[in-house]
Symmetry: none
Subunit: 197 residues, 4 copies
DNA sequence: CATGAATGAGTCTTCATTCAT
DNA sequence: TATGAATGAAGACTCATTCAT
C-alpha cells in the first residue's frame, strides 16, 4: 500500500526521463552527466537514484523511449481504410520524424542516433535497438503487404526484404535531416518517387 | 627537413590513428581513453601529443577517416565503361561496406555510426560528416546520371534528390548490418530491386 | 502511560537492535547502513529513528550488548559451590564464547571485535568497552581469589594483574576462533594447562 | 628501463602507505578517506591511484604492514644464545608492542585491531591476518621449544597449542593497552609470572 | 504516531593533459 | 625529441537523516 500513488511515481520517473532526454539531445549519452540530469529535473541526486538504478539504467530507458514511436503510424496505415502507396506511407513517417525533431524533449531522432552509436558498443542497448528495428521492419512489411493488396506494389518480391529498404529510407532521412541543412520531406519524397518510376 | 623524417612522421601519425580507431571501434569515442590509445599504439603519452593536439583533434581525424572511403567506388563506376544500373551500383557499395566491417582497424561502419552520433553534438565533427555526406551524394548523383545515360533510369527526377535516397539505402545497410544478425547484401539488394520493379 | 506500551517500546527497540546486530556481524559497523537495518528490522525509517537517535546511538547500543555477556558465568563460578581451577574456569568461558559465535544475532564475538576497533577511534564506544573490560577483569579477579581459596592457585601474585592475563586468554580465543579454522576449546585449554604445569 | 628508479617508486609507495597508516590510526579503515590520505601524503589523487589500485588495495597493504613486525623478535630469541624463559620472551614482545604504539605511523597495535575487525568482514584481509597469526604462532612454538630445551618449560604439552596461549597473552596486552589507561608491561608480566607459579 | 520519499554533502575513482628529466 | 609520473578537476554514486502527509 504505497503512501505515494503509482501515478506519482510514474510522473516523477517521467520527469527525470524527460530531463535526461533533453540532456542527451544536447550532449549525447556520455557527455550527459548525472549532475546535469539532476539539475535539469529539479530533483535531488538521491531522488534520481531512487527512480533509476544508475546512469546505465537511465541510458537504457532513454534509448527505449527514443527509438520507440517512430513507426507508430505504420500500423495505423496498414490497418486503415485509405489506399496505401509507398511514397504516401513514407510521407506519413517522415512527417512524424519532423515532428519529433522539434519535440519538447529535444529531438527524438537525434537521440535515436546516439542510441545506435551506443548500441554499437553496449549489448544491452544493442538489444533494445535490435528489438525496435525488428518491430519497425515488421510494420513496414505489413504496410507493403497492404500496398500490394491495394495494387500499388508489384506482385513480386519478399516483403521483409523490401521492408529493410523502407527502413533505410526512413532513418536515412532522419540522419540527413540532422546533419544537412537543406533536407525537407518534399524533396526527399520526390527523389524516392522518381527512383520508383 | 629531410624527406625521410616526413615519412617517419606520417607513419607515426598513422600508427596512432590506427590504434585509436581500434579503440573507438571497441569503445566508442567517449569511452576511448587516451591511455588506451597510448597503450594500443605502443608509444608514449608525450609522443601521441606530439602528433595530435589532444583528444578532440584525434576524434576529428578518426571521424574523417571513418566516413571517407565509403563511396570511393562510386566515382569509378560513374567514369567506367560498364553499364550502370542502380542495383548494380548499390551492390558495389554494399560489398565495400561489408569489406570495411571486417577491416583490421575494427570496422569503419561502426566508427562511422559513432561519428554521426558525435556530429549530432559537436560542430566540428558535424562539419566533417556534412562534407562527407555531401560528397557521397554528389557521387551518387553522378552515378545516377550515368545510369540515366545508359538508359537504366527513367528520364524524370532530380538527380540530387534521388541520390539522397541512394545514400539512405547505403547507410541503412551499414546500420542494419551492425545491429541485426541476418543482414546480407544479397537479400538487401533483392529487396531494393523488388521495390524498383 | 500504560505498562503494555512500555513493553511494546522495549520489544520494538530490541527488534531493531537485533536486526542491527545481524547487520554489523555481516558488514561491520561502517558498512552497516541504516537502510539495511531498516529493511532487516521490518520497520520504517521513521520508526527506527523513533527508538534510536541516530546511527551513533545504535552503534553504542550494539557495542554495549556485544561486549556484555561474555563473562556472565564468571560470577556464578566465583559464588558457586564447586572447586574452581583456572583451566576449569577458562573452559566455562570458552564454551560460552563458542555458543555466542553461533548465536542468532550473528556472532557476538565477531561484533565484539568490531567494537574494539571502534573503541580505538571513538571515545564514547571506548568508554563502553573500557567499562566492560574492567568489569570482566574484576570478575576474573574474584574467580582467581576463589581458586586461591580452594587451594588451586599459589598464594603469591596480585589477583588483578593475573586477571588481565586471563582476560587475554579469553579474548585471544575469540579472535583466533574467528580468523583461524582449526581452533577448538579442547586443544586451546590443553595448551593453557600445559603452560601452567 | 624505467625513467624513474625502482627506489623512487618504492619510496613514493612508502610515503603514501605511511600517510595512510596515520589516517587509519586516527580514523579506522572506513573513516579513512582517500581525500585524507591524498592530503596527508602530499601527493595528488592521480599519483596515489598510480601506486595503489584503490582503497581496497591500500587497506590490504596497511593491514599487511600493521600485523607484521609484531613477532620479529621471537625468531631472534629462538635462535639466540641467551637462556629463554616464558616471561622473558613475553617481555621482549611487549616491549616491542609498546614501542610500536608510539610509532611515527600512529600506532601499529591500533591499526592491527582495525585489521582484525576488517578481517571479520573481508576475506582478503582475513587471509592476510590469518597468515600473520599462523606465522606468529609458529614463532612462539619455536621459542617454547627453545625454553623447553633450556629447561625452563616442562617436558609435557603440545608446543603449537601452548603457542596459542602465548599469542593471546601478547595481543591481549595490546588491546588492553589501547583501551585501559593503567596497563604497563611490568604489572602485566608480573601477573603472567604469578599465574605460571 | 508512522511512513518512506526526498535531501545533498561527501566518497571513491578516472582521465586528458603537462612538463621535468 | 621522447618519456611517463604527476596533476586535479570532474564524474558517478551513497547514505544518514528529515519532514510532509
Amino acid at each position: 500500500m504505497p503512501r505515494v500513488t503509482e501515478e506519482h511515481r510514474t510522473a516523477r520517473r517521467d520527469q527525470i526521463l524527460s530531463a535526461a532526454m533533453r540532456c542527451v539531445a544536447r550532449d549525447g549519452f556520455h557527455k550527459m552527466t548525472m549532475a546535469n540530469v539532476i539539475a535539469e529535473s529539479g530533483l535531488s541526486a538521491g531522488a534520481v537514484y531512487g527512480y533509476f538504478k544508475g546512469k546505465n539504467d537511465l541510458i537504457q530507458a532513454i534509448a527505449r523511449r527514443a527509438v520507440g514511436g517512430f513507426a507508430a503510424d505504420l500500423d495505423t496505415l496498414a490497418d486503415g481504410d485509405d489506399q496505401v502507396t509507398l511514397p504516401g506511407a513514407l510521407e506519413v513517417v517522415l512527417a512524424r520524424a519532423r515532428g519529433l525533431t522539434a519535440d519538447s524533449e529535444g529531438g527524438l531522432p537525434r537521440i535515436a542516433i546516439h542510441a545506435w552509436s551506443e548500441a554499437a558498443r553496449d549489448d544491452e542497448v544493442k538489444e533494445i535497438v535490435r528489438t525496435n528495428i525488428d518491430s519497425i521492419i515488421k510494420s513496414w512489411a505489413r504496410v507493403l503487404a497492404r500496398a500490394r493488396a491495394d495494387g500499388n506494389l508489384g506482385p513480386d518480391g519478399d516483403l521483409d526484404q523490401m521492408a529493410r529498404s523502407m527502413y533505410s529510407l526512413m532513418i536515412g532521412f532522419a540522419l540527413q535531416g540532422l546533419i544537412l541543412d537543406d533536407v525537407d520531406e518534399e524533396s526527399y519524397l520526390a527523389g524516392f518517387t522518381a527512383l520508383l518510376a
